[in-house]
């Protein structure tokens, strides 16, 4: 099993999700994150003092997938999350030794 983690722009979630759903993905997990990188943040002012907030809000997607699907899912995420500008984020794949669904203890591909 593979775990695909993607850092994306918050406003791309809807696109990514509908692309993944079209593909047939049954579920995923999202959480809030912030990142810094090539994309620049915004300068903020509070009573004139300048705060250069370079942590940009992002979302982190975690998608468990069979090895077989992983590549395809990767492709879909790359496609649907992209604007072509710096700040689109990164996607990485790691290997999960085991995946289990809590409710019925289904394992592996069945757990998804």
């Amino acid at each position: 099993m593979k775990l695909i983690t993607a850092i994306i722009r918050p406003d791309k979630l809807a696109d990514v999700r509908s692309a993944l759903e079209e593909f047939g993905l049954q579920g995923l997990t999202v959480s809030e994150a912030s990142g810094y990188g090539r994309q620049k943040g915004h300068r903020q002012f509070y009573r004139g003092a300048a705060y250069t907030q370079d942590l940009v809000p992002k979302l982190r997607l975690e998608i468990l997938a069979e090895d077989f699907d992983a590549l395809r899912i990767l492709e879909i995420v790359l496609e649907s999350a992209s604007t072509g500008e710096p700040g689109d984020g990164k996607v990485w794949v790691t290997t999960a030794d085991q995946v289990i669904r809590v409710s019925d203890r289904a394992e592996g591909a069945e757990a998804l």
Partner: protein, 435 residues
């Protein structure tokens, strides 16, 4: 000239009405997304500040001084209010200012999340000068729509005790026009993120509005019996509208919502505004019910018709403003046994007068606001760039964010205030971030 009871009542009422504009600000800003909460606050507070200054300079004069062609008062007659020094009239000048202020602030709800702040700041003084002041003069200052005015003589004098036409229909139409001019939000009618970010804040806004509305409706009362009628109307109409709105939701959607309740309160207050002194408590209750139902149904129209009046200034203020204005044609109590609405045997006269005044206000505001809005939109611009809308107008228009609850505000770097010498050491971080 010692302070009289009426003086006290007007001063208190004026402070209450002034409080309503922050009330509008909270009511609206709780309904935006978190990333545009400050911009909405700023649109309302800047309306407050700019109109307060305009009113002091020429607005009061234009809405109440000697008329020019029954259209507006002479702006120079009481310019700067200096001519009122030493008289008690400054108190009522303050009271009237607060009505102009809130009317302008109400318009902001139509263009939430995407308005260009500089464009708004140009719009405010022009609109209040060219639209609000004349309309207030025509209805309340002895102008065209008053009993002596040419329009009033043809159609009869409409009752607009506290601002059904001048405030609510006026603001509702202006918001609609601006919303049409600047266009829909990105994702309008599709994006589930366009939901209120802070409903307790909306409730706070509704609270301040209701509280302040006792001054809004009551402040002009000089007679205790009239004041009593107004107080009760201002309590029971929004209460009834609250019930009606959540009732509609319960039947239609299966759940009564708190946003619906808060909206109902405002709709009821709007509807009773023109009618507060001229209906019985039961009449007020019924007007509240009508307004609650009408506005609860009307807020959906924007999806059907495709205009993005983001926070429903049309659905709430225009629709309930019309409900209240027209309801007087039916519910107005006779005065000294004469006149009154259809239900009191007064015939259709009052209804005709009310309808004519409403139609006049809609046309007048609609046309003028279209001209003003288009001119500003074409020159200064009234809408931000699409990428700014995505990032959020708090950051792009005001360089701030509304909230920082977590630990992540610790990112980035700090640069002391420009007036500080330390500020001139340019740090690498400061360089890396585009302003």
């Amino acid at each position: 000239m010692e302070i009289s009871a009426v003086d006290v009542w007007v001063m208190v009422s004026a402070a209450l009405v002034l409080l309503m504009t922050p009330g509008v600000a909270f009511f609206y800003s709780g309904m935006t997304r978190a990333k545009s909460v400050l911009n909405m606050l700023m649109m309302c507070f800047s309306a407050l500040a700019v109109v307060a200054v305009v009113w002091t300079l020429w607005g009061y004069s234009m809405s109440g001084a000697t008329g020019i062609a029954q259209l507006f008062g002479n702006p120079f007659e009481a310019f700067g209010l200096s001519s009122l020094l030493g008289s008690g009239d400054l108190i009522s000048a303050g009271f009237s200012a607060t009505f102009a202020i809130i009317t302008v602030a109400l318009i902001a709800g139509g263009i939430a999340d995407r308005a260009k702040f500089s464009g708004w700041l140009v719009f405010v003084p022009i609109w209040v000068t060219l639209v609000y002041c004349p309309l207030a003069f025509m209805v309340w200052g002895g102008g065209l729509l008053s009993a002596e005015g040419e329009f009033g003589q043809v159609f009869g004098e409409a009752i607009d005790y506290a601002g059904g036409t001048v405030v609510h229909i006026n603001a509702g139409v202006a918001a609609l026009v601006l919303a049409l001019i600047i266009g829909r939000r990105r994702g309008f009618g599709v994006d589930p993120a366009q939901r209120p970010h802070n409903i307790p804040l909306v409730m706070l806004g509704a609270t301040l509005l209701w509280f302040g509305w006792f001054g809004f409706n009551g402040g002009a009362a000089t007679d205790a019996a009239e004041a009593g009628v107004i107080w009760i109307s201002t309590m029971v109409a929004p209460a009834a509208a609250f019930i009606a709105w959540i009732g509609v939701e319960w039947i239609r959607d299966g759940k009564p919502t708190s946003l619906g309740g808060a909206s109902g309160i405002v709709a009821g207050l709007v509807a009773i505004t023109p009618a507060c002194a001229n209906v019985s408590p039961l009449g007020a209750l019924l007007i509240g019910l009508l307004a609650g139902v009408a506005s609860a149904l009307a807020v959906g129209l924007k999806y059907r018709l495709g205009y993005d009046d983001s926070l429903d200034v049309v659905g709430v203020h225009l629709v309930s403003g019309l409900v209240g204005t027209l309801a007087l044609g039916f519910f107005a109590l006779p005065v000294d046994g004469e006149g009154g609405g259809l239900f009191y045997g007064g015939g259709a006269d009052q209804l005709i007068a009310q309808s004519a005044a409403a139609a006049f206000a809609i046309l007048f505001t609609g046309i003028l606001t279209t001209i003003i809005g288009i001119l500003i939109h074409r020159t200064v611009g009234m809408r931000v760039a699409e990428e700014d809308e995505i990032t959020g107008v708090d950051l792009t228009e005001h360089a701030e964010t509304g909230y920082e609850f977590g630990g992540l505000g610790t990112g980035g770097s700090f640069r002391p205030h420009p007036s500080s010498p330390a500020a001139h050491r340019r740090t690498p971080e400061a360089e890396r971030v585009n302003s």
